[in-house]
């Protein structure tokens, strides 16, 4: 009986991890919630912790930050297992980053890195450096962020990761960071590589981010038909998969692109949709119609 439950737990976890890697976060959450119930039925504390951490990872990816953060500090206080310390610290760092608490996020990301240095898992180390890169990018320390992403990619190459997850994300982040540094052509080339890898990996989230980044890049270069094309592709994926952060960004990008094309009605339509996300600030459309904010914003800053 317990053997059956363990097998089910294992299947649910494997499938949940694949769903996370493909960007299907809602279904991954469902899997991990079922795995957590099985772990509780089995009354296995170690399995309970693993299931909770998997659920936390999926919730983070889906943007349910407060839910994802629950219980992580308690786990970190009690555990001495380096793998658990790595995952817990990494998730806490991600949760804090998504709340804009970047200094704290940096502390936990470094703790995660220390924990995984002894684990000989290249993918995890690459993930850690990618996370550090994300935090630096959110802090607008772009040179530091680029260095972290490049180091993560070097680790991936040395470790034979090839184009496996999370190389698609790391390349996409590096490309976007180069866009922020105004190195548009270089950034676009790397994002196009990431896009191809994400397509092969079936990573919908990364695909949506690549199209979003390309829309941003081409908008800044005033290649407006391409900006619109990528913006529309990104928005379609974001709506399908309920990536609300990307939806908001796409409404801005498409509104701005249509404005630059001289299509005021099209622009108004997208800015109105963006306005619905911010009912407390009724001047958004006027603001964006009047000012080009593309050079002062970071689409990947969560708050």
């Amino acid at each position: 009986m317990d053997g059956d439950r363990l097998a089910s737990y294992s299947d649910l976890t494997t499938e949940g991890n694949n769903l996370v890697r493909r960007g299907d976060f809602r279904r991954a959450i469902d899997n991990f919630e079922r795995a957590l119930r099985l772990a509780d039925d089995l009354q296995d504390p170690a399995l309970h912790v693993k299931a909770l951490l998997n659920l936390s990872t999926a919730r983070l990816a889906a943007g349910d930050i407060k839910e994802a953060e629950k219980g992580l500090r308690e786990i970190l206080l009690k555990t001495r297992d380096p793998q658990t310390i790595f995952v817990t610290s990494s998730n806490l760092a991600s949760a804090l980053r998504r709340q804009g608490r970047l200094d704290r996020a940096l502390l936990y990301a470094r703790r995660a890195l220390r924990a995984c240095e002894g684990l000989e898992n290249i993918s995890w180390r690459a993930t850690c450096h990618n996370l550090l890169g994300n935090i630096y990018m959110n802090m607008s320390y772009l040179d530091d962020a680029v260095a972290e992403y490049r180091f993560a990619l070097t680790l991936g190459e040395k470790g034979g990761l090839g184009t496996a997850y999370p190389v698609d994300y790391i390349k996409e982040n590096l490309g976007y960071c180069l866009l922020l540094k105004k190195r548009h052509r270089q950034g676009i080339a790397i994002i196009l590589e990431a896009l191809q890898i994400a397509q092969r990996n079936g990573n919908t989230r990364c695909l949506a981010e690549c199209h979003q980044d390309l829309s941003f890049a081409y908008m800044q270069l005033k290649d407006l038909p391409r900006a619109r094309e990528h913006g529309e592709k990104s928005l379609e994926l974001a709506i399908q998969q309920d990536y609300r952060d990307i939806q908001k960004n796409c409404y801005y990008l498409l509104g701005e692109t249509h404005l630059l094309m001289g299509d005021d009605a099209g622009s108004d339509g997208y800015f109105d949709l963006l306005q619905e996300f911010f009912p407390e600030v009724p001047v958004i459309k006027d603001f964006l119609r009047t000012f080009d904010v593309s050079s002062i914003i970071n689409l990947k800053n969560p708050v």
């Binding site: 804009g100 608490r101 970047l102 200094d103 802090m139 607008s140 922020l180 105004k182 270069l221 005033k222 908001k248 960004n249 801005y252 404005l259 630059l260 094309m261 001289g262 963006l274 911010f278 407390e280 600030v281 001047v283 958004i284 006027d286 603001f287 119609r289 009047t290 000012f291 080009d292 904010v293 050079s295 002062i296 914003i297 970071n298 689409l299 800053n301 969560p302 708050v303």
Partner: protein
């Protein structure tokens, strides 16, 4: 050349935030807490070194409870506001190369008017 222009735009927004904050007797710590960012990041935002999310940008508008004209155009003469905004809108629709050409042309016109001595304000 492009970098300098983008930097200038960031500085414009940052310096405007600083002056609005001081007008309202808010410390950096007060405003940072209300916007939900760290004080050090607000400091860098005011210096044009920090890129913000759309959320933060809109939250700043909300905190200052003002319309767009007030936020950015307070120092401009009223009669010019609409036309300046229109010029900006048209300018940003141009390709980077055309923008450069337009700047070069305006600089040429300014030099020409300087030589004639009939520049605005002279």
């Amino acid at each position: 050349m492009m970098t300098a222009k983008f930097k200038k735009q960031s500085l414009l927004v940052g310096s405007r935030i600083r002056s609005l904050r001081k007008d309202r007797d808010l410390t950096q710590a007060d405003l940072a807490a209300r916007i939900g960012i760290q004080q050090s990041d607000l400091c860098r935002m005011e210096n044009g070194e920090y890129k913000v999310s759309l959320e933060t940008l809109f939250r700043i508008l909300s905190v200052f409870e003002m319309n767009i004209a007030e936020f950015f155009h307070e120092d401009l003469p009223g009669a010019l506001r609409e036309r300046d905004a229109e010029i900006l809108r048209l300018f940003h629709r141009l390709s980077p190369r055309s923008q450069e050409e337009l700047i070069d042309y305006m600089q040429f016109k300014l030099q020409f008017e300087d030589r004639l001595g009939n520049r605005k304000g002279n």
